[in-house]
Amino acid sequence: MNGVHDMGGMQNMGPVIIEDREPVFHAAWEKRVFAARLACAWHRRWNIDINRHAIERMPPADYVAATYYEKVLFGLETLLVEEGLVTAQELASGRAEAKAAVKDVLGVDGIETLLCNRIRARRGDNVAPRFGTGDAVVARNIHPAGHTRLPRYARGRRGVIARDFGVYVFPDSSAMTRDPKPQHLYSVRFAARELWGPGAAVGDSVCVNLWDDHLDPA
């Protein structure tokens, strides 16, 4: 989706300001919504890609204005209703009409398991790579209306396969149809000048993780 979340290369966003001695959270509600999202993920009604896409669907003006944890809250409320864990009526009233049909709830002893979930994106499937290290590739000029991990700034640009990381879940399909469509994930190295033109420094580069379905031979 060509949304405002796809920020790479946008200008006029202002300076990067690093807060000195920044706390992990800035308010109590940030802690609660962060933890609630993890605890709700335990029910496996959505995956991480669906979760990202929910946040991307925030209205663009809201997305730009929102803090990170406001986006987390928006994404969680959206998914709870869409995936049927909470009704829109319950969310509006704040009162439960019935218990949710879930088999259990995340306990303290399940936290570590939950935090290890991310490694599940790496798969053992025997899928042949379409490219080898050193191959010249071009990122597809595609504009899917749904979720994609191919940033706009790389589309149509030529790069080189720097590394093959093996077979991973393909987020673009995983978010939209839950099809993991396992395929090779690469680090594709683009010269900064290929992406940004003559204003970029000659030797600089941007390495982007892209999947087989994002690439064609150059």
């Binding site: 920020m7 790479g8 290369g9 946008m10 200008q11 966003m13 202002g14 990067v16 690093i18 920044e22 992990v24 308010a27 109590a28 509600w29 609660r32 962060f34 933890a35 609630a36 605890a39 709700c40 946040i55 991307e56 730009v64 803090t67 990170y68 969680l76 409320e77 709870l80 909470v86 969310l91 704040g94 439960a96 218990k99 949710a100 879930v102 995340l106 306990g107 303290v108 399940g110 936290i111 570590e112 935090l115 991310r118 490694i119 994106a121 790496r122 991990r149 700034y153 990381f165 991973y168 879940v169 994930l185 680090s187 992406l195 420094a201 600089d204 580069s205 941007v206 390495c207 993780n209």
Partner: protein, 213 residues
């Protein structure tokens, strides 16, 4: 608070709530109580998750990895070739990420960003700082990395390559910064103390406090 029983207590949250609540704070409070009533979450687990991210996961983990790589050449090699396995040697709590560690050298400066959201190596650096998740950093790191670094006090010479890593996958990056030359002979523990979060993201160098380098 002790004259009646709650099913659950969140002492710091309740103290916070003595002040008027802002919009998201009210919404989150309502949501947490709804989710609890629905049987979807246990507030005690939420307390434990928060405690985990405030105390057990964070950049001190990454600093230990860096310090070992600086003092043990065989470890450094393992870290650069199979980052996940080398980091797993530390047995960090909740370590479940595929990782790639990229090494700064006199000729290459690495910088990590996630332009599409805010992917970050939780298990070695904890939760990302606000600036990392902000529009200015996400938008500018790929198109104007030298400008961002300069603003943050780091002028990169023309003959040094700036290499950006845009984290778009469930595979996260960490920078292995350059070891300051004046730390020769330092122990791993002492080295770990000077390794900062920002150096492991790539926006800063590791410096020795008090040194004028």
């Amino acid at each position: 608070m002790s004259d009646h029983h709650h099913d659950h207590h969140h002492d710091d949250a309740e103290r916070e709530h003595e002040r008027p609540l802002s919009g998201p704070a009210l919404r989150v409070k309502a949501l947490e109580s709804l989710l609890t009533e629905k049987g979807l979450i246990d507030p005690k687990t939420l307390d434990a998750i928060v405690e985990t991210f405030e105390t057990r996961v964070g950049p001190r983990n990454g600093a230990r990895v860096v310090a070992r790589a600086w003092t043990d050449p065989a470890y450094r090699q393992r870290l650069l070739t199979d980052s996940r396995a080398a980091i797993a040697e530390f047995g960090f709590y909740g370590y479940g990420e595929d990782m790639v560690v990229v090494e700064n050298t006199p000729k290459v400066r690495n910088l990590i960003v996630c332009t599409l959201c805010s992917c970050y190596p939780w298990s070695v650096l904890g939760l990302p700082p606000v600036w990392y998740k902000s529009a200015p950093y996400r938008s500018r790191a790929v198109i104007d990395p030298r400008g961002v670094l300069k603003e943050l006090g780091e002028t990169v010479p023309d003959d040094v390559e700036v290499r950006i890593w845009d984290s778009t996958a469930e595979l996260r990056y960490m920078v292995l910064p350059e070891r300051p030359p004046e730390t020769a002979g330092w122990s791993e523990e002492k080295l770990a103390e000077i390794v900062t979060r920002d150096a492991m993201i790539g926006v800063a160098r590791v410096t020795v406090p008090g040194s004028r380098r």
